[in-house]
Amino acid sequence: MSQFDLVMQQIINGLVQGSVYVLIAVGFTLCLGVLKLINVAQGHLYMLGAFMTYQALEWSTSINYPMAIVISVIIVSFIGLCVHYIGIWPVQRRGEIAPILTTVALAFMIENIAIIVWPGSGRSIETSLSDNVRNPFGQVHITDQRVMTFIAAISLMLLLYLFLQRTRAGKAMRATTQNQMSASLMGINPEYMRALAMVLSAFLAAAGGAFMGPLFTILPNMGLLYLFKAMIVVLIGGMGNVPGAVVGGLMLGMMETLIGGLWSAAWVNVAVFGLIILILIVRPKGLLGSKGI
C-alpha cells in the first residue's frame, strides 16, 4: 500500500467516523442551544440507538436493516421525550447544574438497564452491506456500510437544515434559541420547543448509533465515551451552532484516523485535547462562534 493510498484510506475512514460524530454532536448542540443545558444522556441515547437496532434484527428474521433503523429511531426518540419530562422538565427553572445532574442520573439508569438486558462483552450488528467492498482507486477499501453511513448522515444534516430554515417549527426553534422571552411573546410555546429539541437530538443520536453499529462492536457502557466526543466536537465548532458541529465532527473524525493511522494511536487524544486548549485560548467560542443554531 503506497503512502498516498494510506492517507486516502485514513481520510475516507475519518469522514465516515466524523459523519457519525456529527450526528451525535448536532443533537447535543441543539440541546445546548434551545434548552441551554448539557445533556449527559446524549451518549447513552446513541448507545440505545445501536442496541435497539441490534434487538430489532434479533426479534424476527423478516425485519431487515432499514426497518430496524426506523424502529430503533422511533423507540429512542420516545425515550428522549421521557428523559425530557422525567429529568429536565421538573428542574428546568433551577439554574444550569440541576438538569445536568438529573440527566447524569437518567444516564446511569439507562446504562444499568442496558447492562442487564445485553450482558457480556459486546454485540455486533451483521448486515449484508458490510460484505460488499469497493475499490474506487488504488488499494483503498470502502464497504457499502461506510458509504451508506456517510450519505445518510449528510442527507439527515440537509433535512435538518431545511427543517430549521424553512419550516414554521424550525424557525420557532431558532427564535427560541436566540431569545426565549421575545419568542414566547410572539406566540411560540417554549415548552414545546424544548421537548421538540430533545426529541430531535434523541432522534439524531439514535440514527448515529444505528449507522455506526455495524462498523464497530457495541457495548452498553460506551455512552460516556461518545458523550465525550460530542463535547469535543462542540468545543471545536462552537456551542449551540449546528454548522459548527458539522465542521467540528468531520475535523475530529479525520484527526483521529489520520493521527491514529499514520503516527500513534496513543497520542490521538492528547493531540485532540491540545487542539481544544489552543482553540479555547485563541477563539474561546469555537471555530464558528456560537450565534444561534
Binding site: 447544574i97 481544544i276 479555547l280
Partner: protein, 365 residues
C-alpha cells in the same frame, strides 16, 4: 447557653468520629470510612468553588489526580518522604491551577464547564500516554504509606485504623480552614462575586482576582485529597481522571447542600453509604441509586443540609409566633401543626379536583 447548645452536638459527633475505629471493628467499613473522609475533603474543595463562587467545574478530579501523581512520583520513584510529597503536590497543583486559571476563569457558563472537561481529558490522556513515567494504564505502584518520625521509631500510617486518624485530622483542619476563609474578608468577596459580579466589580472587588484565589484554594485542597488518596491506596491509575469521580463529587455537593459548609460532608455520607445499603439489589444497584439521586435532586433543591436548615428555621418561626401568642411551643404540638398543614394541602387539592370534575360534568349536561 446558646453557645453550649450549638457546640454540644459538634463535640458528640467528633467524639463518635474519633472513637469509631474502636467501636466498629469491621475492616471493610473502616476502609469505606477512610475513603469517605478523603472524598469529603475533595467535596469541600469542590463546594468552595461551586458553592461560594458559582463556578461549575467538571474538571476538579484533574487536580485530585495530579496531586496524587505528583506525590506518587516523588515518593515511589525518588524515595522522598511523604511530607515532602505533600509540599510537591500542593506546589504542582497550585501552579497548575494558576496557569489554567488565566484562560479558564475569563469564560462563563457552559464554556467554563467545557474547558474544565478539556483539562480533565488532557491530563487523563497524558497519564495514560506517558507510560514510561506514570506506568500508564497498569498504574503507578508502590506509593509508600506516610511515616512521621525517623527510621524504625517513626509513626507509620500503613494500617487502615492509623490512616483513619490521619484522614480525619486532615478533614477537620481543611474544614476549619475553609470556615475561616469563608468568614474572612476574602470569603465575603467570594459571595459578592457569586451573587452579582458586575455589582461587586463596581464596588471595588476585582472578580477575576477573587475567582483566581478561590480556584487556586479549591485546587490545592483537591490536591491534598489526592495526596491522601495516593498514600492510602498505594496505587494510582488513569481511572482517577475518569468521569466517575466528577459525578461522585458533584452528587456529594449537590445532595449535601451547595454553598453550605457541612453540606459536602453530609453528601459524602449519602454517596458512600447509600450504594452499600443498596447492595441487596445486586445488579440493579446502580439503577436504584440513580433513581434515589434523581428523586433527591427534584424534591430537595437545597440538598439534605439545606432541607434540615429550612425545617429548623420554620420551627423557630413557628415557636416565636406561638410564644408571642402565649401558647405552649413543644415539639408534639409542632408536629400536630405540621400534620394539620399538610392535611390542609391535601383537602385543598381534593376539593380543587372535585370542583374541576363537577364543572366538567356540568358542561357535559
Amino acid at each position: 447557653m446558646a453557645k453550649a447548645k450549638q457546640t454540644l452536638p459538634i463535640l458528640v459527633l467528633l467524639g463518635v468520629a474519633f472513637a469509631l475505629p474502636h467501636i466498629w471493628d469491621r475492616p471493610y467499613y473502616m476502609h469505606l470510612m477512610v475513603l469517605l473522609w478523603i472524598m469529603a475533603i475533595f467535596a469541600i474543595s469542590y463546594n468552595l468553588y461551586l458553592g461560594f463562587l458559582g463556578g461549575f467545574s467538571m474538571g476538579q478530579p484533574a487536580f485530585f489526580g495530579v496531586g496524587g501523581y505528583a506525590t506518587g512520583l516523588v515518593t515511589a520513584k525518588l524515595d522522598w518522604p511523604a511530607g515532602l510529597g505533600l509540599l510537591v503536590a500542593v506546589g504542582v497543583v497550585g501552579v497548575g491551577a494558576f496557569i489554567i486559571g488565566f484562560p479558564a476563569l475569563r469564560l462563563k457558563g457552559p464554556y467554563f464547564v467545557l474547558i474544565t472537561i478539556a483539562l480533565l481529558g488532557i491530563v487523563g490522556n497524558l497519564s495514560n500516554t506517558l507510560y514510561k513515567v506514570t506506568g500508564g494504564s497498569s498504574g503507578l505502584r508502590n506509593i509508600p504509606a506516610p511515616v512521621i518520625g525517623v527510621g524504625n521509631k517513626g509513626w507509620d500510617f500503613h494500617t487502615t485504623n492509623y490512616f483513619y486518624y490521619l484522614a480525619l485530622g486532615f478533614l477537620i483542619v481543611t474544614y476549619l480552614l475553609v470556615h475561616w476563609l469563608i468568614y474572612s474578608r476574602i470569603g465575603r468577596g467570594f459571595i459578592a462575586v457569586r451573587d452579582n459580579e458586575d455589582l461587586a466589580n463596581s464596588l471595588g472587588i476585582n472578580p477575576f482576582r477573587y475567582k483566581m484565589i478561590g480556584f487556586i484554594a479549591s485546587a490545592v485542597i483537591s490536591g491534598v485529597a489526592g495526596w491522601l488518596y495516593a498514600h492510602y491506596v498505594h496505587i494510582l491509575d488513569p481511572t482517577v481522571f475518569g468521569f466517575n469521580y466528577v459525578f461522585d463529587v458533584m452528587f456529594m455537593v449537590i445532595l449535601g447542600g451547595t454553598g453550605t459548609l457541612p453540606g459536602p460532608v453530609v453528601g459524602a455520607f449519602i454517596v458512600v453509604f447509600i450504594p452499600e445499603i443498596l447492595r441487596m439489589a445486586a445488579e440493579w444497584r446502580m439503577f436504584y441509586f440513580a433513581l434515589f439521586m434523581l428523586a433527591m435532586i427534584i424534591f430537595m433543591p437545597m440538598g439534605l443540609w439545606g432541607f434540615v436548615k429550612m425545617q429548623q428555621m420554620r420551627y423557630q418561626e413557628w415557636k416565636a409566633m406561638r410564644l408571642a401568642e402565649g401558647l405552649s411551643a413543644g415539639l408534639p404540638s409542632y408536629l400536630m401543626y405540621l400534620g394539620k398543614e399538610y392535611w390542609g394541602k391535601v383537602t385543598d387539592f381534593t376539593s380543587l379536583m372535585r370542583a374541576k370534575f363537577r364543572r366538567g360534568a356540568d358542561q357535559e349536561v
